[in-house]
């Protein structure tokens, strides 16, 4: 369904296949977040063309476009003044769903992220742990069952243990849901775990596009090597044990 072509930041040209996860990877300031925000028109391109579900985003009202795309940000970006239930109900409410349908869907989607509504629905964001907040952020993005998800460093602020278990949950969830996902991360391990396709960015330009193995085993140029740095060997041993001999 989603077959968008992105030309953004600087001569960026990408295509995200439907039902797949694409990671925008790079150091901070490389333009990965800006690229992501162009998709739901939180940023406006100065030139180029951007298609979502085959339609030019500039022809769509930004609010309508955004409501049709799930959006997850660091720490969940939850509204601190309303409880979990009302946080998750935001987009369905904006879409004008009936109260019954919203109630039903929230129970369902909170179940999906492992936070039963009966226990967590009435809690305020500050009463949750970092990992729980992040789950609510994902549940909120999934609430209206959009076919596209944008995730900006979704697990960035979590401790390593929580991050890994949430990453695993995401992989399982994605196997069920088959959303089209664009993920922004500076963590190559995360990109490798969650995404089928990785785009390494530097100063707004694509350095390399491919799988984790492509990136680790065949860095395109010195910019790619610089991004991996000394960790490259460890990363290969860790992520691609079958190839560890290749580099040694």
């Amino acid at each position: 369904m989603f077959s968008g072509e992105v030309r953004a930041v600087d001569c960026l040209s990408l295509r995200v296949p439907t039902g797949r996860v694409l990671a925008l990877l790079g150091a901070s300031g490389c333009g990965k977040t800006t690229s992501l925000r162009l998709i739901n028109r939180l940023e406006e391109p100065t030139s180029g063309e951007l298609l979502v579900r085959g339609a030019d985003v500039r022809r769509q009202r930004p609010e309508v476009l955004r409501r049709s795309i799930g959006y997850v940000i660091q720490e969940g970006g939850l509204f601190p003044h309303v409880d979990v239930w009302h946080n998750v109900a935001t987009v369905p409410g904006l879409l004008g769903w009936s109260r019954d349908r919203i109630r039903q869907r929230i129970t369902q989607v909170l179940e999906l992220v492992g936070l039963p509504e009966s226990e967590f629905g009435g809690r305020m964001p500050h009463e949750l742990s970092g990992g729980q907040r992040q789950r609510v952020g994902v549940a909120r993005a999934l609430a209206s069952d959009p076919d596209i998800l944008l995730m900006d460093e979704p697990f960035g602020a979590l401790d390593p243990g929580t991050r890994e278990s949430l990453q695993d949950e995401f992989v399982n969830l994605q196997a069920q849901l088959q959303k089209t996902v664009v993920l922004v991360t500076h963590d190559i391990v995360e990109a490798g775990r969650l995404a089928q396709e990785i785009v390494l960015l530097d100063r707004g330009r694509v350095v390399q596009q491919g799988t984790l193995a492509d990136l680790l085993l065949h860095p395109a140029d010195e910019r790619a090597e610089a991004f991996l740095g000394k960790r490259r060997r460890d990363l290969i041993r860790l992520c691609l044990p079958q190839h560890s001999s290749a580099i040694c």
Partner: protein, 515 residues
Amino acid sequence: MLAATFFSDLLRAWERSHDSFWPQAWLFLSLTVRALGLALLIGIPVGILLTRLPRIAPAVNTVLALVQAVPALVLLALAIPLLHVGQAPAVLAAVVYSLLPVVLNTYVGIIQVSPTVRDAARGMGMTGRQILWNVELPLGLPVLMAGIRTAAVYASGMIVFGALIGAGGLGDYIYNGMSRDDAGLIWLGTIPVLILTCAIYWGLGGLARLSRKNSALGMWLGGGLIVLTSGYAVFALMDRLLVPSKETIRVGAKDFTESQILAEILKQDLEANTDLRIELVQNLGTSVSINAIKHGAVDLYAEYTGNLLTNKEALDLPIPADRSTITTMVREESRDRLGLVLLEPFGLNNTYVPCVRRATAQRHGLRTISDLKRAPELQVVMDLSFLTRPDGWGGLAQTYDLRFQTPPTQVSPNLLYQALRDNELVIGFATDWQIEALDLVVLDDDLGYFPSYHAAPLVREAILRHHPEIAAVLNRLAGQIDDQTMRRLNYQVAEEKRSEQEVAREFLLAKGLLE
């Protein structure tokens, strides 16, 4: 000891004034709420607008902070040329004064919302208006409520000050108490102001805490409060603008006891003997009262001929050589130039009077001012303004060719008679109650130096055209209040601490003008 005096003072003030207490307390609260409501109505939208115009926000906030830095009294004085006297300028000054905390806290409350949260709201597909209502206002509400609380305190403080320009309310007690040195009356005004202000302060503080805990409830209660307050303010404003209080005659009173008694006499006389509704506008200075009646903010009040003659806001004329022509001249000129009618004088002539203790008079054989030439050793005591007035000390000494061995002492008016010793000559006023109480001898102005200060009702001509009965009723007071009667009335209020309402009523009953 102190506590006992405090309670007995307060109790006495309450006994004297409990009839007027509840209306005054309500008026104070009503004016405060009106000012707060208008400040919210203007301040909240301006604060929201500033968050959308970040470039001009610092400039606007600076201007408002400067306004805040202007002393409250000055702000009040600045409102007079715009709206004259009464409730309107007091409310205006209170609105201006309480605007800063409302604008600033609305602005800060919204600005401090975390960018991540705002970004999430946008990313979720909320429109600007939805972000404002669902995210920015609820999250800014605790800060906004704190601002409203500050604004309410500023507004109530300014409304108390407003009594100085005739707005009425609890401030009346405070200022009357101050001018009469009546601690009980001051407390009677101050305590309820403190209680009401504290109640507003705690109430709004509780609401701010609640809105931090439960945002939805806070929005309902806080929003409801804002809507109710603003609604009341708009309603009161509309009521004033659309339904002008035509049949209400406003009687002015100056900021001293005698003028307040005379105003009360005029008010009760008119209430009893006409169908008009009467409202008092209290605590006006002489120039302010003249301005107020010229602009119709006051319809009538008791004025003195000498003031009308010399005051810059009135006729601003030199004192004629023949003092006996003053009343006629003032009457004609006031009517022609100011459109104000001077009715028949009450009888009292509250001019300056030099007086001495009886023992001093007997020792030096003093009956007239001319006799003072025989007593150059006397020490002259006068109030601060007498030395520089056109009808003051210089002219007096010249006219009577007086020379004293020591220069005159100047004191504030309410200290004139305190510790009056032998061999002192005090320049007092003809109706000062102390003349009677201290058994002083008033020296006769045998050369006719002092201009006359005959008190008489001064009425707007326009009002008399519509209500000629006012002249008929008030002219029955002609000659009924001579110097001695006035001294007695002043004594009853200033020294016996009775209320001017009661004293005026008693006087009118005795004269058969009231049943």
